[in-house]
């Protein structure tokens, strides 16, 4: 029943069936899930005051279309930088990046971005904020008004369309910024610690909400958006993702790439299961470099 509620929302003008064949044909090879993001030996060295600092080194990974992949790692391991490199917002100093088969050399426009802060424009109403990408991209904002309102309704913000950001709580502001990221229906969502500034309860709540909006309940895998999600929280990464990529401290390298084979749709109860705990522990050990069994002393 929820399937009916949200069907077509993420892909206006088409139902889910049509979309898997017509939506984003470039991202799918018939029968096989194609790779949306391809990173090949990506490195990033920047010039600090005294000497060059190597922030990322030899990052090779790929993300399939419709996959939800989290990047975790210690502070300063360059995971946020990596996200911006994928978006074409920062140039990599080594290696190649391609998204949807195209080399990334400048900012790519087929993405939605959500940052740690909601960065809503204080002087615009929530609806006007959600419509901002249309205006920036030179599209007809008026035509997208209906979609913006639908997105707000989906994020349970329909009563707040005409409110100013300061009238909303932090969690609601972040949901509004997710609506903004989804407005132009990008196939790729890049999220940089989007729940990092929220309290634990709101955070867990929004994680569930995100999966629902992502289409976990109602969309075929190929019809879902590809999500690259940076977080500090291991449980959050495990709860949300199909894969968790663990990065090592500076220079950031890929320390492990773990498949999360937990059943979808993910539920609150999942957090209490043994499998969930074991995955968390495994990632924790990879991160801290402790071998299995070494933690109990």
């Amino acid at each position: 029943m929820q399937g009916c509620l949200f069907e077509g929302l993420l892909h206006p003008g088409a139902d889910a069936q049509e979309l898997t064949s017509n939506g984003h044909p470039t991202f799918r090879v018939s029968g096989v899930t194609s790779r949306l993001i391809d990173l090949d030996k990506v490195g990033m060295t920047y010039q600090a005051a005294s000497s060059p600092v190597e922030a990322l080194a030899g990052i090779s990974m790929s993300v399939g279309a419709g996959e939800f992949v989290s990047l975790v790692g210690p502070s300063g391991c360059g995971k946020s930088t990596l996200l911006r490199i994928v978006a074409g917002l920062r140039p990599a100093t080594a290696g190649t990046i391609s998204v949807a088969g195209r080399r990334v050399t400048k900012p790519i426009d087929d993405i939605g971005m959500v940052f740690q802060a909601p960065i809503l424009l204080k002087w615009r109403t929530i609806l006007e904020n959600v419509l901002l990408p249309a205006e920036l991209a030179g599209k007809d904002a008026g035509a997208l008004r209906g979609r913006a309102l639908e997105l707000l309704e989906m994020a349970e913000l329909h009563g707040f369309a005409d409110k100013l950001p300061r009238e909303l709580s932090g969690g609601m502001q972040q949901r509004a910024s997710l609506c903004r990221a989804l407005l132009l229906d990008p196939p790729l969502l890049l999220m940089d610690e989007p729940f990092g500034a929220l309290d634990a309860m709101t955070r867990d709540d929004l994680a569930l909400e995100l999966l629902r909006i992502w289409g976990e309940l109602d969309l075929a895998r190929e019809a879902r958006k590809t999500v690259l999600f940076v977080t500090h929280s291991l449980p959050e990464a495990v709860f949300l993702s199909d894969r968790v990529v663990v990065m090592s401290p500076r220079p950031g390298r890929i320390a492990a790439d773990l498949r999360i084979d937990l059943p979808r749709p993910r539920t609150v109860e999942l957090r209490a299961t043994e499998a969930f705990g074991r995955l968390n522990l495994e990632i924790f050990r990879t991160l801290t470099g402790r071998t299995v069994g070494a933690t109990s002393s």
Binding site: A87, D109, F115, A117, I119, L121, E135, L136, A137
Partner: protein, 255 residues
């Protein structure tokens, strides 16, 4: 009604203090033997304010005109320079040192030059007010235009928004509270500038009135002129505060 009650609750101490000071002043002059040319009694100032042989209308008009002109000029030029500085690093490098130099000049010292260049009149006094008041507008405009979150600018880059669009949709509204905040300073500076200009060279205006009372020892008229000046200044300041309230309500409580 309740708003009025709230205001009176907030301001009654001010009013009581003001009434007390006025009464003491009047008493000191009436009973303390202070001579009228040194310190006129409040009542004679009150009389000079409305009657007497000063034709206040033309002086108030002249000064008000100068102040508003100075304010508009300072605001316009200040915002334009601020935008130029924020728009292009080249312009910023060219302009900023020059502007800092102009700002460090004591403007009062330039006033006699204005007299030589432009003679008597309203315009030089306007220019003096603008010269004193424009600098904070330049700085606040430039700062407000650049104080935009890096992530917001990234968002603009993702959608390959042209530079002018980022300015119109993000940077300028973002700068508005900063600009309005600077304009409060400019409102006061414009009054100073206009009066300084009138002190040096003028045939009309409230500053001119004060200068003439020096020779006639008509101190109550000088006091009355001061009251008119502060009334004009307060009105302009109030207008800016009101504009800030109307145009940038989201920035309430910023300063």
């Amino acid at each position: 009604m309740t708003k009025f009650a709230g205001l009176s609750r907030q301001y009654w101490p001010t009013l009581v203090l003001f009434a007390f000071l006025l009464a003491s002043w009047q008493a000191a002059v009436s009973f303390g033997g202070i001579r009228e040319y040194l310190l006129p009694a409040p009542l004679s100032v009150w009389n000079a304010l409305w009657h007497g042989d000063t034709s206040w209308g033309q002086h108030i008009w002249a000064t008000t005109f100068e102040i508003i002109g100075a304010f508009v000029l300072a605001a316009g030029v200040g915002v334009a320079l601020g935008v130029a500085i924020a728009w292009s690093p080249l312009l910023a490098n060219a302009l900023v040192p020059f502007l800092v130099f102009v700002n460090t000049l004591p403007k009062v010292a330039i006033a006699p030059l204005f007299l030589i260049w432009m003679g008597y009149g309203i315009f030089p006094n306007m220019l003096m007010g603008a010269l004193i008041g424009f600098f904070p507008v330049v700085i606040n405009t430039a700062v407000g235009l650049s104080q935009v979150e890096a992530d917001m600018l990234d968002l603009g880059r993702v959608f390959s928004a042209p530079k002018w669009k980022i300015f119109v949709k993000i940077r300028i509204p973002n700068a508005l509270p900063y600009i309005l905040s600077a304009l409060k300073i400019t409102a006061t500076a414009a009054v100073v500038g206009a009066i300084v200009g009138e002190f040096v060279a003028s045939q009309r205006g409230l500053g001119y009135v004060i200068v003439t009372t020096q020779s006639s020892m008509n101190t109550s008229v000088a006091f009355a002129s001061l009251i008119w000046i502060s009334a004009v200044g307060l009105a302009l300041y109030g207008a800016v505060v009101l504009a800030a309230h109307l145009w940038a309500p989201w920035a309430e409580g910023v300063d």
